[in-house]
């Protein structure tokens, strides 16, 4: 199989700094223009039949890219299998819903709290769970995801099974309004957050935490022997992943204005995990591509109606069999070590 990732990296290496800057800015500009592509002739095939394309770009596409990047820190960078990532998304969303309707706070004031609560719950879950070996983490995180949903259904402050409605939109910033009429503004907001997360992950990757995660992913025992405090770094990966999920949740709640426990089912965790693995686990660009495709396709192929999910399952099986390392696999250097681990 051709390795697109390595090809891309080669071209990238050959460029000098101004060329790279121009390329990156151009890509960001193109991404920012995406909401208008549905109404522009040559790219109108992108348009989605039921929900308008601009809204699809915000949720699921943008949100899933954001969350997949967050989960990628946990699953891709440090090799911890998390099957309950939706819990952090739910915690962020409920923080926004409760604080805005009860305390009358604005989204921007709530955002740090949403992130904080997600991080605290990440520590609470991670401290016991991360002491255990990999596969047990999977079941405990899965259970945590379900517990958060069950608590949301059964307690009165979260509105029970009906959820919370009447969540206000974020107030406008620099004259950019966030309301129903301007989904593209939300999309730009999500892009900004995605860029922030990408920047953060890249900074981490080249520094001490990134190297520690890489060592833990390849062999935890060896990493511990080399003096890496595995529990602390695993916990950090977990908590940072949770923070991204929480931030996505806050934004989501203020965009859709109504949330209910049904939106935070196990399927969402699975979907985010599928995004990460499908695109190329551990590789930021692969994850973005994978999440974009997997989140977009079900909405584009609405005409399949009932068979949509069936086809989705089939696509997952076929893709994994053809490209087990994802669409854009991580660097070869890293891949060899994954193979020798088996």
């Amino acid at each position: 199989m051709i390795n697109l990732r390595d090809k891309g990296a080669e071209i990238w290496e050959g460029w000098n700094r101004p060329k790279r800057t121009i390329f990156v800015l151009l890509m960001i500009l193109l991404a920012g223009l995406l909401p208008f592509s549905a109404s522009w002739g040559p790219t109108s095939f992108l348009n989605t039949p039921v929900t308008s394309f601009e809204n699809v770009l915000v949720y699921p596409v943008g949100m899933f890219i954001l969350m997949a990047l967050g989960l990628n820190i946990v699953v891709g960078k440090s090799g911890l299998l998390d099957l309950g990532y939706v819990a952090f998304f739910a915690i962020g969303a409920y923080t926004q819903a409760i604080m805005s309707t009860m305390l009358d706070w604005k989204t921007w004031e709530i955002l740090p709290f949403g992130i904080l609560f997600a991080m605290i719950s990440g520590v609470m879950l991670g401290l016991p769970a991360l002491r255990l070996r990999g596969d047990y983490l999977a079941i405990i995180t899965l259970g945590f995801g379900e517990i958060v949903r069950i608590i949301a259904i059964n307690s009165t402050s979260t509105g029970g099974p009906n959820g919370i409605s009447g969540i206000p939109n974020p107030p406008s910033v620099f004259g950019i309004k966030f309301d129903l009429m301007h989904p593209e503004h939300y999309f730009w907001l999500v892009i900004t957050m995605i860029l922030l997360v990408v920047w953060m992950v890249r900074r981490f990757t080249v520094r001490r935490p990134g190297r520690a995660w890489e060592a833990i992913r390849q062999d935890e025992d060896v990493a511990a022997l080399m003096g890496v405090n595995t529990l602390v770094y695993k916990l950090w990966a977990f908590v940072i992943g949770a923070a991204v999920g929480g931030a996505a949740g806050v934004l989501y709640a203020s965009k859709v204005m109504v949330i209910s426990p049904d939106m935070f089912k196990f399927d969402v965790s699975v979907m985010i995990l599928a995004c990460v693995v499908f695109g190329g686990i551990g590789n930021i660009w692969g994850v973005i591509l994978g999440a974009g495709i997997l989140a977009y396709l079900p909405d584009r192929f609405r005409f399949l109606t009932d068979y949509r999910q069936l086809v989705f399952g089939l696509v997952l099986i076929i893709m994994m069999n053809l490209r087990p390392d994802g669409l854009l696999p991580r660097k070869k250097r890293e891949k060899i070590s994954v193979k020798s681990e088996k």
Binding site: I147, V270, L310, L316, I317
Partner: protein
């Protein structure tokens, strides 16, 4: 909080918990056998169970022409119907589990891909199966015919000994005894244990790896199919997503007992069944999943490899 129910209905709760727990144990085998050999979570097992319950339905309604409205039957006809639907479900599930291995796992395993890739392809299979069934049944729950009249065999310490519960308990224990003998005594069982200890070394010893792995999936499918039959007999209904909750519960049971360990699955399932019954009696059924997971976390913190330790035969070093 309702503690009085524990004293007044203690034995009745125990009996129901035991029957439910044994159904969990049988499904848990589908996870634990595969995990023991491949160290992979067999994610599609919950849908194998779901297909099994529908296989029972098809055998009873379409092949034997029993109707949902028809009266319970007796004697030879009853035995024939029950045995046919039990074996029908077991065979269908075993074949399906083998197919799942072939489609979702084999190619990835031969290429030495990462475990997450197999997990995603198994999740894909799981989505495909449950969505396929959803489209076939138009999301409607299906009722299985009541062939067995649910008479009481008497009461024991105030617990009602219902015949379907008793049959489930006895048959499940028999299946476990048979499986335990098979894995510990037979030549193929020895091969399974060898592969679970070390894939490489067992291959050097001339064990046909593909055959053993397929066999392991088939055994997991057989017990899952049996569980599907008992579930359909006791609860008399099924729906396309029935596998989700039972699959998670069974997987939890496997982890609780020590995943990869056959006896662990047995006791883990029983422990989970009892725990769920008592938790829903005391706290209300909406909190039962929460209780189960809190207990699971506590158990794993004290004993990280589950109550009975890992692996089909021996803990991996």
């Amino acid at each position: 909080m309702n503690f009085s129910v524990v004293t007044s209905e203690f034995w009745s709760l125990c009996l129901q918990g035991l029957a439910l727990g044994l159904i969990y144990s049988l499904i848990a085998l589908g996870y634990t056998m595969v995990y023991g050999v491949l160290r992979l979570i067999n994610f599609a097992n919950s849908e194998v169970f779901m297909i099994g319950t529908f296989a029972v339905l098809v055998v009873q309604v379409n092949l034997l022409h029993h109707d949902v409205t028809s009266q319970p039957i007796q004697g030879f006809a009853l035995a024939k119907a029950l045995i046919l639907s039990l074996f029908g479900a077991m065979i269908v599930c075993a074949l399906l589990a083998m197919l799942v291995e072939l489609v979702a796992y084999r190619r990835l395993r031969l290429h030495g891909s990462s475990r997450l890739a197999s997990l995603i392809s198994a999740i894909g299979t799981s989505i495909f199966l449950s969505e396929g069934m959803r489209n076939l049944t138009q999301s409607r729950p299906q009722t299985t015919p009541r062939l067995l009249e649910k008479t009481s065999l008497g009461t024991l310490w105030g617990a009602n000994l219902r015949i379907d519960t008793i049959i489930t308990i006895i048959a499940a224990v028999l299946i476990f005894l048979a499986l335990d003998q098979f894995v510990n005594r037979s030549r193929l069982g020895k091969a399974i244990r060898a592969v679970s200890m070390s894939e490489e070394n067992s291959r050097l010893m001339g064990i046909n790896l593909n055959k053993v792995i397929t066999l392991t999936f088939a055994i997991g499918g057989l017990t899952t199919g049996a569980a599907a039959f008992f579930y359909a007999t006791v609860y008399e209904n099924t729906i396309f997503n029935v596998g989700f909750n039972l699959g998670i519960a069974a997987f939890t049971a496997a982890v609780l007992g020590g995943i990869g360990n056959i006896r662990g699955a047995f006791y883990g399932g029983i422990a989970l069944g009892l725990l769920e019954q008592f938790a829903s009696a005391i706290l209300g059924s909406q909190w039962k999943a929460v209780t189960v997971f809190v207990v699971l976390v506590l158990v794993l913190l004290v004993k990280p490899s589950g109550i009975f330790g890992e692996a089909v035969q021996q803990t991996r070093t």
